[in-house]
Amino acid sequence: MKHATQSLLIRGGRVIDPLARMDAVMDVLLRDGQVAEIAPPNKIRAGAEEKIDAQGLIVAPGFIDLHVHLREPGQGYKETIASGTAAAAVGGFTSVCCMPNTTPVLDSPEWVTWVRQPQRGAVVNVFPIAAATQASKGAVLTDFRALQRTGAVAVTDDGKPVLSETTMRDALRASAEINFPVIQHAEDTRITQNCSMNEGPTSFRLGLRGMNVNSEAAIVDRDVQLAQQFNGARLHIAHLSTAASLTAVRRGKKNRARVTCEVTPHHLALTDADVRDYDTNFKMNPPLRSAEDREALLAAIADGTVDAVATDHAPHAQHEKIIEFERAAFGITGLETALGLVISVLSADHRLPLTRIVELFTSGPARVLDLRGRGTLLRGSHADVTIFDPKKRWTFDASKSRSKSHNTPFDGRQLTGKVVATIVGGKIIYRAV
């Protein structure tokens, strides 16, 4: 597939590459799956078999999503690796890291290999994240070294936390030994049982049991302290959603612990007050939080505490969503709306510079999981490129989504910022019509 087009010239776009500290109008030449040359307009002498005119558009390193549920093996009725990566392409993502809460749980090198096989039909790069404990039961650690060797980029029990302090300590010790990130779904499930949204005035009004913000912050706080005990241990906090958790992450970073975190577009765009009429498309875990928590996330994006935006794309079938709110599955789809939401919220409403937004989708996530040669357009990097129009206004139509599932709260939402083309390994895999 890579060699269908051997060279591609992207002309006249505004190249934003935060890692290279580049923000200028440039031509970009991709050849044989790599970035071959970047130069001011019309300075590249080499010919190209294909050309894209990117005038007036942003040319960025290919977007990376650290947190996607592709649902295979075993849950193909929700999503497949093929359908999920097709949705990723529409959203401008050239690389996605997929979560291990599949059936069976992705806890062995064999299944990691299975996910990476070409017959899965992935159209973007797929980096599997393996389970941290066997069957994600939280008791016995998986073989980190073997998983790393077969291509897993991190471990996690996402969907649930590594709750036991002893297990988490062991995981971080092993992480330090082989330089392998441990991703924590921070939730003290002992105090969130039967809860289906954030604890606050809205949950009280709706008569729903609410998750207290401390159920997240307590685990983040504990794990940041644990990470500081092992020199080189790498802790990444998934879908961070509260102000109190940010305090713990900031402390860890200040103490030079290798702690990183991601935030989802929906936690930046919505609050728990948006949970109306028991619409289960507003039910996810962590839940939509208070306006104060949302403000804290926006501030942490601006000041650099947040390392990446990640979608937590969580497709579910209708029979799992069109039921009683308290019984419905947690999670929403997010790949196709991520950029539009982030630009709408951060650029349009909060005047965050585009370079920072691009960083959150590219060099930020690449650094979190050490995805070498990705998240940048430096010469020799992988030829993964995302071209987007930051000013384009459009309306998201969930019925046209490439995902197999349509559980999104953003159907019909007006967004600013749209992907124009997605290029993986030098090949155009998506182009907006």
């Binding site: 105090i191 709706l206 008569g207 028991y278 039921i323 709110f325 308290e326």
Partner: protein, 313 residues
Amino acid sequence: MSTSRPQSEKRSVARGSLLGIEDLPVSEINKLLLLARKMNPAKARPLLRGKRVLLLFYEASTRTRTSFEVAAQALGAETSLVISSGSSIEKGESLLDTAYTLRAVGADAIVVRHLNAGAPHLMASYLDIPVINAGDGMHEHPTQALLDAYTILKHKKKLTGLQVTILGDIYHSRVARSEIHLLSKAGAKLTLCGPPELLPEMATTLVKGLRISRSCEEAVRGADVVMILRVQRERLAGLKVSLPDYVSRYQMTMARLRMAKPDALLMHPGPIIRGLELTWDVADCPQSVIVEEVHNGVPLRMAVLARALGKAA
């Protein structure tokens, strides 16, 4: 009604539905209370002759269920009762599929009690017949609030300006949420009282002007209406509430009730647990209207059913 094909498509809530007090305008509340006055269970009026009212109960109920049944029958409607045990619900049928089934056998309205908040709302969003909420999880129990307002108005001139104290397990109570919305809309002055586990500070955000008190004596002093709620032991999961401590601090005793106005009403939506949230003598004291509340449930629910099926004239 013609046969209906299950159409899993969201629509707007059917006219005549009663899902909660929160979204019910004051004018509608007043209309229902007026209509209830015209309803006489002893003198049947066949307003709903030929109509079928399905009662779908996923949770135990004595008062609400029988009172809806009697109310529907007093208006000439036929009723059928579906309870979760012994029905296809036990086989795993979803709420919406059960609703479509009831619609297909000819239900003209569905009265539903469910253990999950929002379940009536889900049904009403996918059905073209009215859905009446007979209590959903910890959310609302609108007909209880309406019949209590009706009961108060039998004894007091108006709700506006009345000093009402609601005492007990507010957090787990759907009755409390409906009462608070209704009484607040009607202009009553509300005081809530209970321990923090059962009455979090957050409760004050429900409506404007709510007052919270942690002292039973202070909360009751000068009240026109004292409403007691049951401690819902079945919903206490994980909370550390000591019952002996609760009894000593919050149980309604004659001594405490005497701190209210001499003509204060003592109310309780039932079921009452004598010896826990109130003493034996309080339940039966002259000021107690507990039995009258149950009695008033019938005409009030007649009004709700008549409104639901467009016969509110």
